[in-house]
């Protein structure tokens, strides 16, 4: 990439950060975010983080939150805010653009810039870059590892295979689903070899500049990194066996033993055409269409030595339709009509990306367990293909004028995606409700309701008037997940959580699931009143019961109501 291209890339990183960074505390913490924040507490406060094979995914997220916590100014866990946590995926989301630099020499400059633009503004990528979960880290480490592995395969340089190995170890230590990406890559390399042979092409299907001793070294790096994280940096030997044992419960979940089982169309519905009642139509169909174009270009374009951007690739036999060596990469399809989209030349990298994306999409589609953020893994592949498609469409234009118009149309489409991303994160609907916490947003899933902030504020105010302050006893009772309340109530020292109503005297403050039909206010002694319903998540209501004396003290602090 030349200096101009690097400047454009830097600008796109800035755009990506501009969409990801503002108002990180706007959306209430999701249940999973709250759980992850409390896992970080184990590390930060007790220095006792242990990997759990049952839940919560890998250790990289808490460990990579340490720099953010250290730089946040305060050392008190209670003072950490949503921003302290969400800045972590934001940086990895933006890093996903920068990591393209590894791939750019072989992928193509214009392709790289289109991909960078699409990652920067893709609503799904933006939304989940502001989500304190493991997914964006997994996608970043996957890109780092696979792109570096490709660079190693092309150049044979040791440093790339070491980075690939470290990336692989980080993938493993981030989320159990990393195995899908690895499987998809292996299948893609095999599929590409079969496809090349099937088409009778003479080119190599993979630049096999591999040395087994270096590969083994990379595997050692991967293992070393994963051992470091899973063992909590040699504090928890059990973590090493748990890192393998974890696949038993996760396989059960993947097989459908989960409340998150959804139809095969779940991801496509959210990505390409989502229209909830009363909400706008959200669509990233532009990326979908461009990805299909890129997929077919990658598959049906015959590679040639002339088109190979990197001279270190093995020599390939030029096809009759290939541009001359002098034309190089820029000559591919340029000014020669649409037929050259399928008759030019392509690096085998494109085909591997095409097959990788197809396999990974298939895997995630077939598995019944689906949460919308899981789409990021295969959607990243789709965006890579979309970059190929966008660049090819512009190149296919015969005249500079047409080229400009097509490029402009695509740029407008990209800007529209950016507008959607902005709306989904900061926009409000007609009733003034934030889209970032609304079921009208395709990427909102089991989201904590903003209504719960009323509960938090009320309980905080009650603690303010209580003689015990944050030592006031609080009971939270719910048969299903009460997250992220533990994070919001992190300052309360005498708080307990039950899945059914405990047989003990009532606490001054009780937050009880409405499903339990609590009737503490109906008891003859009238020690408690029911102070309100609060929506935790869609269809999950909590009821607040407060000791009447404490409530009376609280009421005295309220401003007089106007008629």
């Amino acid at each position: 990439m030349n200096r101009g291209s690097l400047c454009v890339l830097a600008l796109l990183v800035a755009v990506g950060l501009g969409l990801r960074l503002p108002e990180l505390g706007l959306r209430p913490m999701h249940n999973d975010e709250g759980v992850n924040a409390m896992k970080f507490r184990d590390l930060w406060v007790d220095n006792n983080y242990k990997y759990s094979p049952e839940e919560f995914h890998g250790p990289t997220l808490p460990y990579l939150t340490l720099p953010s916590a250290l730089l946040s100014g305060g050392r008190d866990f209670n003072n950490f805010t949503e921003t302290t946590y969400r800045i972590v995926p934001v940086l990895f989301g933006a890093g996903l653009i920068l990591v393209l630099l590894i791939l750019a020499p072989d992928f193509g400059t214009s392709e790289t810039l289109w991909v960078a633009a699409l990652i920067a503004v893709s609503p799904a990528m933006v939304f989940y870059s502001r989500y304190y979960i493991h997914e964006m880290l997994l996608v970043f480490f996957t890109a780092l590892s696979f792109f570096s592995f490709w660079r190693y395969a092309v150049t044979g340089r040791l440093r790339w295979v070491l980075i690939a190995g470290i990336g692989l170890g980080l993938m493993y230590a981030t989320k159990e689903t990393f195995v899908f990406a690895v499987a998809a890559l292996v299948l893609a390399i095999g599929s590409n070899a079969a496809w090349t042979r099937l088409r009778g092409e003479q080119q190599a299907s993979f630049p096999w500049k591999l040395k087994w001793n270096q590969i083994i070294l990379a595997v050692v790096c991967a293992l070393a990194v994963s051992v470091l994280f899973f063992s909590s940096f040699f504090r928890n030997a059990q973590g090493l066996t748990d890192a393998v044992r974890t696949y038993v419960p996760w396989l059960r979940r993947a097989g459908g033993e989960t409340p998150h089982a959804h139809s095969w169309a779940f991801y496509f519905h959210r990505l390409f055409w989502f229209h909830a009642v009363g909400g706008p139509i959200w669509s990233e169909a532009l990326i979908g269409v461009l990805a299909v174009v890129g997929f077919f270009i990658a598959l049906f374009t015959e590679a040639s030595a002339a088109s190979t951007p990197n001279p270190t690739l093995p020599p390939l036999q030029a096809s009759p339709s290939s541009p001359s060596p002098r034309e190089g990469r820029a000559g591919r399809g340029v000014g020669r009509g649409a037929s050259h989209l399928f008759g030019g030349a392509a690096c085998p990298l494109w085909r591997i990306i095409a097959f990788y994306t197809a396999w990974l999409t298939l895997i995630y589609t077939v598995i019944p367990y689906k949460t919308p953020w899981c789409l990021l893994s295969f959607y990243h592949g789709m965006i890579l293909l979309a970059g190929i498609g966008a660049a090819a469409l512009v190149r296919a234009c015969a005249s500079p004028g047409l080229k400009f118009r097509v490029g402009l149309a695509l740029a407008v489409g990209v800007a529209q995606l950016g507008w959607q991303a902005w709306q989904q994160n900061f926009g409000v609907d007609k009733s003034g409700a934030l889209y970032c916490a609304s079921v009208k947003n395709p990427y909102v899933y089991s989201q904590t309701s903003p209504d719960i902030l009323r509960l938090i504020n009320t309980v905080e105010a009650l603690a303010g008037v209580s003689r015990e302050g944050y030592n006031t006893i609080v009971e939270v009772i719910s048969p299903e997940s009460y997250g992220p309340l533990p994070w919001y109530f992190r300052q309360f020292t005498q708080i307990g959580y039950w899945d059914q109503i405990p047989k003990q005297p009532l606490a001054p403050i009780m937050i009880v699931s409405a499903d339990l039909r609590p009737d503490f206010d109906e008891r003859p002694d009238k020690t408690h009143l029911m102070a309100g319903y609060f929506l935790l998540r869609p269809n999950v209501f909590m009821e607040l019961f407060v000791n009447t004396k404490l409530w009376s003290e609280y009421v005295k602090t309220l401003p007089p109501e106007k008629d």
Binding site: D521, L529, Y533, L535
Partner: protein, 223 residues
């Protein structure tokens, strides 16, 4: 020991039976439901239990208990009514028809019934406008033998949790005006002796105005 247990059990059962023999369900005449099916756009900012169309369990009171408020005079904190006449609140017409609704102005308002004699009260029933399932705010029901409610006041129900009326922090829940059953709100008066019944309210989830259809007081003469 066993003998003692059986004697105790027999005595307790006899007492319970005698008490039960003196009670009977009060013969309420409920108006027809105002609507059927699932209501749309239910208010959510309330402490009320979810609305349902199940009939209320019979309320037991001493035999002979009667609606002692029917036709009795009604006064109010607000002489300037927006609609209806105060006497309609005790006229026995409880259907959710527009012409049966008495509407007082916005803010905290009360209506008061003079039972014209002292009664042991067992149940107070209040029908605000139940055309739709609204929640009336700050409902307080008091009884007294003082027409000014300065002395001898017993609070039977109070869901004014923020004490906006200044009558004390209420510990009762809000409730839906049940348009699916027309059952009204039944408040256990526990035999309180009084001549006057006063009902407060302060708007609703639907309006800042205060609307009533009927108030009934069920009791027996105190003598």
């Amino acid at each position: 020991m066993n003998k003692l247990f059986f004697v105790s059990f027999f005595v307790a059962a006899s007492v319970f039976r005698a008490a039960a023999d003196d009670l009977e369900p009060i013969p309420l005449q409920l108006p027809p439901p105002a609507m059927k099916g699932t209501p749309q756009a239910m208010p959510t900012n309330t402490t009320a239990l979810p609305l349902d169309d199940k009939p209320r369990a019979p309320f037991l009171a001493p035999k002979g208990v009667a609606n002692v408020s029917v036709g009795k005079p009604v006064t109010a904190s607000d002489a300037n009514l927006i609609s209806g006449e105060l006497k309609q609140i005790t006229d026995g017409k409880k259907q959710a028809f527009e012409e049966n609704v008495v509407t007082l102005r916005r803010g905290l308002r009360w209506v008061q019934i003079d039972l014209q004699g002292e009664f042991n009260l067992y149940a107070i029933l209040v029908w605000h406008d139940f055309t739709t399932p609204i929640v009336v705010r700050d409902v307080i029901v008091q009884v007294s033998d003082d027409p000014d409610f300065k002395t001898g006041v017993t609070t039977l129900f109070n869901n004014d949790q923020k004490n906006t009326a200044g009558l004390g922090v209420g510990t009762d829940r809000e409730y839906f005006e049940n348009s699916l059953t027309g059952a009204g709100k039944l408040i256990d008066a526990k035999g309180a002796k009084a001549r006057y019944v006063r009902c407060y309210s302060k708007g609703s989830t639907d309006s800042a105005l205060n609307s009533y259809i009927e108030v009934e007081a069920w009791g027996l003469p105190a003598s």
